[in-house]
């Protein structure tokens, strides 16, 4: 199988280049990450992030044949050759397939992704009805791989101001939580032309999400909630 892999080492290279590799003999269920391991055996200068290898940790998000995804759960069989692998777009490149995620994490941190409760804490635990708990399905599963935010043109153009789909999905995860009491503060924080409203609902985020989540819908829900709070 033929691979074209994005290579860039800022200490040596003036600009990025695509390097070709040919590797054969994969098992039938092999994933792209297996191929990257084989290439690394051949050429140990290749850098990429990975950890769990089964789509849970979110470390190996990359741009695969022009589409963001996780290398560890992308079957080689599903890809057209030559398989072009690049870092996720829009973030500064540290080396080869490794990007600087600081802007992404900054936006995530900005939505205060934790429960805020103003009342005194209960004696035992916070109670939720099964229906209230259901509200969090499709939100809590996010693994913060960054595939969605780096597929979003609004995030490419304004990564310092627009929160991006991943952070906004988490914002909605806490707005939708029956136990959270910081609704007004959260909505207030997202006001203005940039943080939330740079989203034009083009749905690249839900298209690429490896966990099948829908940030566009979450963003729509935040807008609806803002509207309710206004009237």
């Amino acid at each position: 199988m033929r691979f074209l892999i994005h290579r860039y080492n800022p200490e040596v290279d003036k600009k990025p280049r695509m390097q070709e590799y040919t590797v054969e003999g994969f098992a039938s269920g092999a994933m792209l990450l297996d191929a990257l391991f084989r290439i690394k055996e051949e050429d140990d200068s290749l850098s990429f992030r990975r950890s769990c290898g089964e789509g849970v940790c979110g470390s190996d998000a990359m741009n695969i044949n022009g589409r963001n995804g996780l290398a560890c759960i992308t079957p080689l069989k599903s890809l057209k050759e030559p398989i072009e692998v690049r870092p996720v777009p829009g973030l500064p490149i540290i080396r080869d397939l490794v990007v600087d995620m600081r802007q992404f994490y900054h936006q995530y941190r900005s939505v205060k992704p934790w429960l805020t409760v103003h009342d005194p804490e209960p004696e035992t635990e916070y109670l939720q009805t099964p229906e209230q708990r259901d509200q969090l399905d499709g939100l809590y599963e996010c693994i913060l791989c960054g595939a969605c935010s780096t597929a979003c043109p609004s995030f490419w153009w304004n990564p310092d101001k627009f929160r991006g789909p991943a952070a906004l999905l988490q914002s909605w995860r806490f707005l939708a939580d029956s136990r959270d009491q910081a609704t007004a503060e959260r909505l207030e924080e997202l006001e203005g032309a940039y943080r939330l409203f740079r989203c034009h609902s083009i749905m690249n985020c839900m298209d690429v999400c490896p966990k099948g989540l829908n940030p566009t819908k979450a963003i729509g829900n935040i807008k609806k909630m803002m509207l309710k709070h206004l009237v």
Binding site: P153, S154, W157, N158, A184, L187, E188, L190, E191, G192, A193, Y194, R195, L196, F197, R198, H200, K223, M226, L227, H229, L230
Partner: protein, 113 residues
Amino acid sequence: MSWRASSGLRSWLTQRLTALYIVVFLIVFAFVWGGQTITFESWRAWVAHPAANIALLLFVFALLVHAWIGGRDVVIDYVKSASTRYVLLIVFALGLSIMGLWTLRILLLAGME
């Protein structure tokens, strides 16, 4: 959250409400004029009617506001330098205002006949 403080939500909502009016107007317009040949006289008579006159004025106003929000969004997305942004937005706002005033003049004159 107050209406004044919510600039993002305000533009978003205004864009949707104007879109709604534009669609409703166009459907009614197609219903009223569908299948007929519009002549200068029939058009003039229609525009002279106060209801049509006001509906048409609102339509143009909604269209201009809708265009302003959309155009401003494009500028905010793609234009980085603040000075270029101001120049583009001023030119755009001027153009839209002139179109609005011109329409207002035409419709007021037509309505007074």
